[in-house]
């Protein structure tokens, strides 16, 4: 995927044992299916069906740490914030799929400092 449609961020310094906030911003129109385009044709509904965030650690099984199932009630370019307890360094793997079957993903290294 050439274009990066998502951004994931957390505090600069994450210490083991601490609870930190993860912020996710995805570029997505979240079409409700109720609006029309300039020619009066209904724009089909296209919202993110599921967005998941997995924790990937070396030698550890994939662990789902966050999942959201939005509907058309979530604004365009959705923002999600949630919390995680830091254990050890790894990667956060963000994936989503929308009504049009379009999938997207983002992997980002998470460095956890010793307490």
């Amino acid at each position: 995927m050439a274009l990066n449609l998502a951004r994931m961020s957390w505090p600069d310094r994450v210490v083991a044992g601490e609870v930190f906030m993860v912020r996710i911003l995805v570029q997505h129109p979240m079409e409700t299916g109720y609006l029309q385009d300039n020619e009066g044709r209904t724009v089909p509904r296209n919202v993110i069906q599921t967005l998941t965030c997995h924790w990937v650690g070396e030698g550890m099984p994939l662990k789902e740490v966050f999942r959201v199932e939005p509907s058309s009630g979530i604004s365009a370019n959705p923002l999600f914030e949630f919390y995680l307890r830091a254990t050890r360094s790894g990667e956060l793997w963000l994936r989503w799929i929308d009504d049009a079957g379009q999938m997207g993903q983002l992997r980002q290294v998470l460095t956890v400092h010793g307490a």
Binding site: V19, V68, P70, I74, S75, L79, E81, R85
Partner: protein, 159 residues
């Protein structure tokens, strides 16, 4: 040759016809949207409580009192929970009172989250109550309500 009066009549009929047509379309739209009807609290709670009697406690729903744009309303939900293996929040559901799609989002969290708090931005089809419902690991169901005045609805019928 056509009289002025005849022409006026004809054009008026045409105009009315066109109006009638577009009027019909608009009402069809409104019907399709099923918007505008305010659901009762029990109607909002019933599909999500799954039998457990919902209680209004432990959940704190934060929304602006006045949202001048229904397209983008910041929302945050916090649940009082130790988030341990034995006692944690499993699911947080956001329900709208008036939107054509009742369920706005479902969040899945767990003991690994450390804190039961999520934030997002929602769409609102006009002023209404918003419900946040949390399902606990022991089957309990807690909720909180917030009243929002939205001066501009997120549902505009194609205009």
């Amino acid at each position: 040759m056509m009289q002025r009066r005849q022409w006026l009549h004809a054009s008026a009929a045409l105009g009315c016809g066109a109006l009638g047509l577009s009027g019909g379309q608009t009402s069809a739209w409104a019907q399709g949207m099923v918007s505008g009807r305010l659901r009762s609290l029990s109607d909002m709670l019933a599909p999500w409580s799954q039998g457990a009697p919902p209680v209004r406690q432990a959940v704190h729903l934060q929304l602006p009192v006045l949202a001048d744009n229904g397209h983008l309303v910041p929302l945050s939900v916090r649940v009082d929970s130790p988030m341990t293996e034995a006692d944690h929040v499993q699911e947080i559901v956001l329900v709208s009172q008036r939107n054509p799609v009742e369920r706005m989002a479902t969040f899945h969290v767990g003991p690994w989250s450390g804190r039961a708090e999520v934030s997002t931005r929602i769409r609102l089809a006009g002023s209404q109550m918003v419900l946040a419902l949390a399902r606990m690991s022991d089957g309990r169901c807690c909720y909180d309500l917030a009243d929002v005045i939205a001066t501009e609805s997120a549902c505009v019928d194609g205009s």
